[in-house]
């Protein structure tokens, strides 16, 4: 499979820069803001915001599959070391789980919206709280991979190629 990709650069990537962190903008931002708009919509009785949440959630769910595709390729080229290996495993497991969880949440939301777009049961807010918390955990794990362990940074890749890590 690897020979199908262009040669690897000094980030150990077949493309200029990591793409996964760019794609996850749209999962993180859309899913979290969707929950915030749901909360405001319920508390301040602004049902128009439910429509905004729905589209944001739908978009987040589409984006997570693209994020996983790039995430898998870039994880495969990341050469994790030390505790980063366990963090990357956990990040991968939660990532795939989130794809399922977000799909279910969106499906539930689609049914709710078809029934009454102006109402949102508290149970959905509860599920939204849990999913948002899971997303925050996932972001922290991803953050550790780059900001603590420097995976795919030029300095770490150079050290890896010299056999220092």
């Amino acid at each position: 499979m690897l020979e199908l990709l262009p040669p690897l650069n000094d980030h150990n990537l077949p493309w200029m820069d990591t793409i996964h962190p760019i794609v996850v903008h749209f999962v993180i931002a859309m899913a979290l803001i969707g929950f915030v708009f749901d909360l405001i919509g319920v508390l301040w009785r602004r049902p128009a915001l439910f429509e905004v949440s729905f589209w944001n959630l739908l978009f987040a769910t589409g984006a997570i599959f693209v994020a996983i595709i790039f995430g898998q390729v870039e994880a495969g080229l990341a050469a994790p070391y030390g505790a980063a290996r366990n963090i990357l495993d956990l990040h991968t497991t939660i990532g795939w789980s989130l794809a399922g969880v977000l799909s279910l949440l969106t499906a539930w939301r689609y049914v709710l919206r078809n029934r009454d777009p102006e109402a949102l049961p508290i149970s959905f807010l509860g599920a939204g709280t849990l999913v948002s918390a899971l997303i925050v955990v996932q972001v922290v794990l991803g953050d550790k991979l780059i900001w603590t362990y420097g995976l795919h940074t030029v300095k770490v890749v150079a050290a890896m190629r010299e056999g220092l890590i």
């Binding site: 962190p21 803001i33 915030v36 429509e51 900001w147 603590t148 420097g150």
Partner: protein
């Protein structure tokens, strides 16, 4: 007559860079906390802005795509799309003030790896200056566009199906390119200059990562 270079030579005292005053409070990543804040808020700024513009485009092209959504059995309203365009942009504008503020804090505490030249052929100082000034410029444009969008929604185009002017969408799409360029500079500060990346800074200090980051 004293030249600027002579003045700089008089003023520049490497042994007392201001950052050293708080150096003992900072971790290996050069921050007083474990993970940088700015790159996380950037997810919100970029995600919200791009999706805001994208949904206003979908709202503007509504007559073309009506049939597609009917085919997908997905009930839609044109106003709903424009609601996404407005509320996401409003949220983007509010968040971006914090994004830029945290960015400045983290740039003031930045210690880029020495001797690195980026993919763009720039040094670390030039990259940080462009990323800093660019961040303020983008915040200004986003705030201006939010006010503009608000006037279109609540005044000028309140009774119209298409809530946004074509020029607004054009400026929005042009902003995608600016955000992409600006984001790439920020990504280079991390992945190439090692700013606030614990592993990069430890390697630069000569540490063995097997010991320093087990």
């Amino acid at each position: 007559m004293t030249t600027a270079a002579e003045l700089l030579a008089l003023a520049y005292q490497p042994e007392s860079v201001p950052l050293e005053q708080i150096a003992s409070d900072l971790g290996a990543n050069g921050l007083p906390y474990a993970l940088p804040i700015h790159p996380n808020l950037v997810h919100l700024t970029i995600g919200l802005f791009v999706i805001a513009i994208a949904f206003d485009v979908v709202g503007a092209l509504y007559p073309l795509e009506k049939r597609l959504f009917r085919f997908l059995a997905l009930p839609i309203t044109r106003g709903g799309f424009h609601d996404v365009g407005w509320y996401n942009l409003l949220a983007c504008c509010l968040v971006t003030f914090v994004t830029v503020a945290s960015g400045f804090y983290e740039m003031l505490t930045a210690v880029p790896l020495p001797g690195v030249v980026s993919t763009f052929g720039l040094g670390s100082m030039t990259t940080m200056l462009w990323h800093g000034v660019g961040g303020v410029a983008l915040l200004t444009i986003i705030t201006g566009m939010t006010v503009w969008r608000g006037f279109q929604r609540y005044r000028w185009r309140r009774d119209m199906g298409r809530q946004v002017q074509w020029l607004y969408l054009l400026v929005g799409v042009a902003m995608f390119a600016l955000l992409g360029l600006h984001g790439t500079l920020g990504a280079q500060l991390a992945a190439e200059f090692g700013v606030h990346i614990a592993a990069d800074q430890l390697l630069q200090a000569g540490a063995d990562l097997h010991v320093a980051l087990p």
